[in-house]
């Protein structure tokens, strides 16, 4: 697979490390509350495991060490969109 890095252009997926769904950006912020255990359980262990268009986190370990959000079809491996994860996280209202 070739990942079209927004800053560096097309790069081989071999240069990247895969983490998982972009849902992992949304770590619960209510860790001080008793009820957060369930939220952290859902965050840490439960996955949508989508068959189709999937937004996922790739880390450019052997490159500029940026985190990317890659939109990729899990049935065909076709990549339709690549963004910097920090931009995506900001639109989700996260700090960085």
């Amino acid at each position: 697979m070739i990942i079209n890095h927004p800053l560096l252009g097309p790069r081989d997926s071999e240069e990247f490390v895969y983490l998982g769904s972009t849902d992992l950006i949304n770590r619960p912020t209510n860790w001080e509350e008793e009820a957060s255990a369930e939220d952290f359980y859902q965050y840490q262990y439960i996955r949508d495991n989508i068959a189709g268009d999937h937004q996922e986190l790739w880390y450019h370990e052997q490159g500029d060490q940026s985190w990317l959000v890659v939109s990729r079809n899990t049935l065909t491996h076709e990549i339709t969109k690549v963004e910097l994860a920090q931009d995506v996280a900001r639109t989700m209202g996260r700090g960085k």
């Binding site: 997926s13 359980y41 840490q44 068959a51 996922e56 049935l75 491996h77």
Partner: protein
């Protein structure tokens, strides 16, 4: 329906009478209008084994196995055929040892030649720390009566002269072997269980895709399929690889990601490897088929996918693992390579459990170790479906174990499915 008993005498008799007496191995059925006591979703090794043990051990014969494609067309036909029970943790080792014992009696039980070959499996050791870890694992195996053998480097070299003992980066220091491990003809496992189940009255229904579950007031009453609605007293899903897609139809999310594992076979070679050998520093495992091909595999590709094909970086990684322990493999040409979809769970261990929906049960999350578990998985899933209680050796395989902190993490890498 086939009630033919296979034997050398039968083969001889058929040979002398023009092979006119052979019958289909199992009966291809259509759904019954009034439904079933139990429906198994998924006609792979685990599903067929479940149906067989439901009928044989529990006398429940009004059972249907629904298969989207053809039986044995999924992961039971895509694995590297290795069987072993060399696990460390108490939640796992007794289960896999039960599986090994069932393998040992499988052919007599089913009256079917599955080519169970206890040729032994040998895990290579490359460092002092690994030696300690493997001795600990060996002790766990001895506790479970799985048996093991510690082999010093000198003997490894004598037995397998083609191994690169003095590789500068990954020298071979010793090995831990399980002589009872080995290989099995994987397709024959599906066919043998199908024949056994069919003979006991189970309906095997192919080209029958489950498209939805009929759930009312939190209770599963049956399934919708490409061949219409089928009523069921109890539904057992058993579709590892597609668990996410199928369980989503019941509105259930799982602690599972789907990943692709690639496997490889070389052209036929003269006999060189009489057992199964695994590389301890990377991930590479290899055996030689009866046709002479070296069958090998390594790590999963590492990204979510439902496509039954992988990418080239992992091909290179697997092959370099092979080159590190047996450089002669570099002269062999690849005949075929393929991919299968794995249910990668959050701790690397499987699930055999009830779900939040009454009368709907789940078996999956086998990561890339499902084939060796086939008999015990069917045995324990049948026990659960018949009695609504977990079998003793599968009692740790609960879906809520992450919520309780009772994970079974053999590799110790945490909730990172692509590293298990």
């Amino acid at each position: 329906m086939s009630k033919t008993r296979y034997s050398a005498f039968k083969v001889l008799k058929e040979a002398l009478t023009g092979h006119k007496g052979w019958e289909p191995t199992w009966r291809d059925a259509e759904p019954k209008a009034d439904g079933y006591d139990v429906i198994i979703v998924g006609g792979g090794g685990h599903g067929l084994a479940t149906a067989y043990y439901l009928a044989k051990n529990h006398g429940i014969t009004n059972v249907a196995v629904l298969e989207k494609g053809w039986i044995g067309g999924g992961n039971v036909g895509r694995n590297t055929t290795i069987i072993r029970s060399n696990y460390l943790l108490p939640g796992n080792e007794p289960f896999y040892e039960l599986s090994m014992q069932l393998w040992e009696n499988l052919e007599q039980d089913l009256n079917y030649n599955a080519m169970v070959s206890q040729r032994g499996i040998m895990n290579l050791i490359h460092s002092d720390a690994q030696r300690d870890a493997f001795i600990r694992r060996g002790n766990a195996m001895l506790f479970a009566d799985a048996g093991c053998e510690f082999i010093e480097a000198k003997e490894v070299k004598e037995r397998y002269p083609f191994l690169d003992m003095d590789n500068p980066r990954f020298p071979i220091k010793a090995a831990l072997a399980q002589p009872r491990g080995g290989t099995v003809r994987h397709d024959a496992v599906a066919w043998g269980y199908a024949r056994g189940a069919s003979d006991l009255g189970v309906d095997i229904i192919q080209n029958c895709e489950v498209t939805g579950f009929n759930i009312e007031n939190g209770k599963c009453l049956g399934v919708q399929t490409s061949k219409g609605e089928i009523k069921a007293g109890r539904v057992g899903v058993c579709v590892a690889g597609s668990s996410g897609r199928v369980m989503a139809k019941a509105g259930i999310k799982l602690p599972i990601e789907s990943h692709v594992l690639q496997a490889f076979v070389t052209e036929g070679l003269k006999p060189v490897m009489d057992n199964v050998i695994t590389f301890g520093a990377g991930h590479f495992y290899c055996s030689q088929s009866d046709k002479g091909g070296l069958v090998f595999g390594g790590d999963i590709d590492g990204y979510n996918t439902y496509a039954q094909r992988g990418n080239l970086p992992v091909v290179e990684d697997v092959c370099s693992g092979g080159m590190a322990i047996m450089p002669s493999i570099g002269r062999a040409r690849l005949l075929r390579m393929w991919g299968g979809i794995m249910d990668m769970s959050m701790d690397g261990s499987p699930f055999i459990d009830s779900t939040e929906v009454d009368e709907l049960y789940f078996n999956g999350g086998w990561c890339y170790g499902g084939f060796k578990a086939t008999p015990a998985s069917g045995f324990c899933y049948a026990h659960l479906l018949a009695t609504n209680n977990s079998h003793e050796v599968a009692s740790a395989y609960k879906l809520d174990r992450f919520r309780r902190g009772a994970i079974i993490d053999e590799k110790g890498v945490g909730a990172q499915p692509n590293l298990h």
